[in-house]
Amino acid sequence: MTDRSIPAGDLAPRGIYPPTEEMLNEPVPREVRERQEENLRRAWKTPEGWRYWTAVNNSEVGVWYTMTAFVFMLIAGVMALLMRLQLWVPENDLISADMFNQLFTMHGSAMMFLFAVPMFEAISILILPAFLGARDMPFPRLSAYGYWAFLIGGIFVIGSILFSAAPKAGWFMYPPLATIELGIGSDIWLLGLSFIEVASIAAAVELIVGALKCRPPGMRVNVMPLYAWYVLVVGGMILFAFPPLIAGDFLFELERSFDWPFFDHTRGGDPMLWQHLFWIFGHPEVYIIFLPSIAIAAMIVPTVARRPILGYSWIVLSAVGTGFLSFGLWVHHMFTTGLPNMSLGFFSAASEAVVIPTGIQLFAFVATLIAGKVVMTLPMLWIAGALAIFTAGGLTGVMVAIAPFDWQVHDTYFIVAHLHYTLFGGMVFPVIAGVYYFFPFFRKKMLSERLGRWSFWLIFTGFNITFLPMHLTGLLGMPRRVYTYPEGLGIDWLNQISTVGSFIVAAGFAVFAWDIVRPKKDQPQIERNPWGAGTLEWSHEIPETKWGVRSIPHITSRYPLWDQPKLVERMDQGRYYLPDAEEGLRETIVTSVIDARPIQVQRVTGPAYITIWAAAFTGGAFILPTFHIYGPAIVSAAFAVVCILYWLWTSTARPPEKDMKDVGLGLSLPTYAAGPQAVGWWAVWITMLGDATAFASLVFGVFFYWTSNTAFPPPGAEHANGYLVALSTAAFAAAWALTRGARGLNRAGRVGSARGALAVAPLLTLAGMGGFILSVMDLDPASHVYPAMMWALMVWVVAHGIVGTIMQLYCLAGSLFGKLTPRYDADLWNVTLFWHFLGLTALVTGAMMGIVPRLM
C-alpha cells in the first residue's frame, strides 16, 4: 500500500533492480503476450483519416519535420540555381538586382533557419527515442507544436519571395541597411524567423530532457550512444546561441516598428551591437549544424567498420570542447569592422584552437575505419565524401581565421567557397548518409543502391566543380552578393564552370529526391538489422509497430545488439520493462541522469488538435505585426495562451489513478513526479536558462552602449523614476516570496494559506508591472538610445510578469479544482522555478534602470 502521507513526488521505486538472469529467462505465456500486445497497439494507435494530422508520436512528427525541411531545402536550392544562371555571363539581365538581393538573402536564411537547424531537430525527434529504447520523447505534443510552428513560419517566410516582398538585406540583416529598408521584407525575416527560433528552442528542450531522462535502465552516461552526447551538447548550445539573436530581433523589431534607435548612430545607437548579437548566435550556429550531422557519422562508422568506435571518450571531449570553444569565435565574422587588433587576436586564436577538438573526432573515425574491416556501403560512401569535403573546408577555415588573410578575402567568393565546403562536408553529406542509413529504420524499406551511387557521384563532382573554382574567383576579387560583374576581369570562365557544376549538383539532388519518394510497394520486406549494426534502434520491429519498443530493455553495453545476445528476443517477448499498457495510456520510463536507474513511469500525451490551434494562434501573434496589424495580433496571442493553458490543464501533471505501478521484473515505479524528479521541471529549468541568456544579452547591450558611446547615458539625461523602480522591484520580490511560500505551505497541508498567497501574489506582480511602466513614462524612447533601452528592459520584465501572473493564477485554479494538492504539486514546483528566474530578472532590471545608469 502507498503511504498517503508522503508527497507523491517523493515516493521511491520499490522492488528489484537490476533484474537477475533467472528473471529474464522466465518465459512469458503466449496469451499474456497477446493481451499485452493488444493493449499496446490500442494505446499507440496512429489516428486515421484526416485525424492523422493530430498525431504527435515522434515517428509521425519526425517524418513530417524531415520532409518539410527537405522541401524548404530544395526550394532554397532552386534559388541558388537562379543566381548561378544570372552569373552565367557578365552583365547578364536575366534577374533584376532587386530580385537577386531577395534570392541570396532567402537562400542563406532558408538554408540556415528552414533546413539546417530544423533538420537536426527533425532527425533527432525521429531517431533519438529509438537509440534510447524509449517509446517516445517526454513531451510529444511539444514536438508537434514545434513542428506546426515551423511549418507555418517557414511557409510565411519562404512564400514572401513569390510576392517579391522577401527580405533583401542579406541573411544577417545588417543595420543600417536593414533598418531603413522599405517594404516588409526585413519584418518578415525578423518576425518569421523569431517564430521559428521559438520552435527550435522547444525542440532543444525536448531533446535535452529526452537524452538525460529517457534512457533505458542501465544505460549510464559512459555507454549511451554518441549521438545522444552530441544531442546534449547541441541542445545546450542552442540554449545559449539562439537567445542573443532573439534579443537582437526584439530590439531590431522595436526599431523597425516604433523607431526606437537601437542601431541608429545619429541618436546614440550602434549598428555594431546587432553584429555582435547576430554572430554570437551565428557562429555557434555553424557548429549547431555540424555536430549533429557528424554525430550521424559516429553512428555509421562503427557499423561499417564492424567494431566499436575507437576513442569514445575522445569523441565526447571533442563534442563538449567544440561546444564551448565555438562561442569564442564570433568576431571572426567581424574582422573588418575596425575593432582593436588585440580583440581580433583573441578571436583569431580561439578560431585556431577550435580546430583541435574538431579534428580529434575526425581522427577517431578514421582510426576506427583503419582498425575495422570496412564494408563500403552506400552510407559509408557519403561519409567518406563528407570527410574529404569537410577537411578542405576546414583548411580554408584555418586560413580565414588569420585576420590579415581575412582582410584580403572578406566578402569575396573565397568565403562563399569556404562556407559551402564546411556546410556540404559538415552537414549535407553526413545527413544524406544518415538518410540512406536510417531509411530502413523509419520507412522499413531500402533505398536504391544504384540511384544512391548515381546521386553521390553527381553531387560530389558537381559540388567540387561549382565551389573549387570559387576560391580563385574570390582571390581574383569578385565580391559576394553582386548581381552581375563586368567583362574582362578574368572571372567569366570561372563563373561559367561554377554554373555548370551547380546544375550537376541539382541533377544529383533530383535523383536523390526521386529515390525517396518513388513508390516502394513492390519491394521485398527488409531484414530487421540490414547493416548489422550494434545500437538499439535496429531492434525495431518488422513489419512496423507504433509502440516504439515492445518492452524497454536493461542495457549494459555501448553496442547492446552485439554484446547482449538474447536482448532482442527478450524485448520482443515483453520480458523487459513496461511490456503492457493496462490503463490504455501511453507510457515510457524515466531514469536518473547519470546512471539511468529507473525512477518513474511517465505518462506521455497522445493525439490532439490543440497543438495545431496553439501553433496557428502563435503564428498569428508573430505574423500579423509584420503588416503592422497589432490589435488582432494581440487577440491571436491571447488565443494562443488559452490554447496552451487548455493543453497543460487537461494533459499534464494530473494526479494519477494510482501512485505506484508494477512495470515488470519485480519493479514498481511511481507514476507521478514533482520538482527535480519530474521531466517537466527539467524542461522549465532548461527553457528559463535560454530565457535568462536572452535577458543577459539585453543587459550586455546597456554595457555595450556604455563602452562604444562617449555619452551613454547622455549628459543631463532624464532617468527612470528611482522610487517607482525601487517599489516595483520590491513588489516583484514579494510576489516571488509568496510563490515560493505557497509551495511550502501547500506541501505542509496548509492549503488555505497557500491559496491566499497565490491570490495575493498576482496582485503584487500587477503592481510591480504597473510601477515599471510608470517609471519610464516620462522618457521618450524614440529620442535617444538610452531611454529606448530603459523602455526595452521595461517591456521585457512586464512581458515576463504577465506570464508569471498567469502561472500563479493557474496554480490557484489548480488548487481550487483539485488538480494541485499537497500530494500532487508538480505545477507549483515548476511555477516556483519560473519565479526564481523572474525574481532575478526583476532585481537585475531594477538595478539596470535605477542604479547603474546613475553610476555610468
Binding site: R14, V221, G311, F346, E352, T707
Partner: protein
C-alpha cells in the same frame, strides 16, 4: 562485471543522490572549458573596455600584466583539475583506456577520462588566447 552499486536500495530522490555521489567528476568534465570561457570573456571584455574608454588615460602594460597573471592562475587551476581527473581515470592501475562497460566503476573512470581530455584542450585554448596579449602590445 562490477555490480555492487546496483544492489543498493533505490533512493527516493535518485537524481539529487546521484549528483552528490558523482558531483565532483560531473563538475570536472565542464570545469576546464568553463575556466577557458571565463578567461576568454574577461580578456576580451577588459581589452575592449580599455581600448574604448581608457586608452588615453594609462598605458596597456599594467592591464597586460594583470591579464597574464590571471592566465597563469587559470592554467594552474586547469592543470590541477586535469591531474585530479587523470587520477580518477586510473589508467595506470587498470590499464583500461576505454571504459565501455555498464558498471559504476567504468562510468567513474570514463568521467575521469573525459574530464582529463577536456582539461587538456582547455589548457591549449587558454594558451592560444594569451598569445595576442604577449605578441601585440597595443589596441591598434
Amino acid at each position: 562485471m562490477e555490480r555492487s552499486d546496483h544492489d543498493r536500495p533505490s533512493h527516493p530522490r535518485e537524481d539529487e543522490h546521484e549528483f552528490s555521489e558523482e558531483r565532483e567528476s560531473l563538475w570536472r568534465i565542464t570545469l576546464g572549458p568553463t575556466i577557458w570561457a571565463f578567461h576568454f570573456l574577461i580578456s576580451y571584455a577588459a581589452v575592449s573596455v580599455y581600448c574604448f574608454k581608457f586608452e588615453r588615460m594609462f598605458s596597456m602594460g599594467a592591464l597586460r600584466i594583470a591579464l597574464i597573471a590571471m592566465t597563469v592562475a587559470m592554467l594552474a587551476a586547469i592543470a590541477w583539475i586535469g591531474w585530479r581527473a587523470f587520477l580518477r581515470w586510473d589508467v595506470r592501475d587498470t590499464g583500461e583506456f576505454s571504459n565501455p562497460e555498464g558498471s559504476a566503476e567504468d562510468r567513474h573512470q570514463f568521467l575521469g577520462h573525459a574530464g582529463f581530455l577536456l582539461a587538456l584542450v582547455s589548457f591549449i585554448g587558454v594558451v592560444y588566447d594569451t598569445l595576442p596579449l604577449i605578441i601585440l602590445g597595443t589596441c591598434r
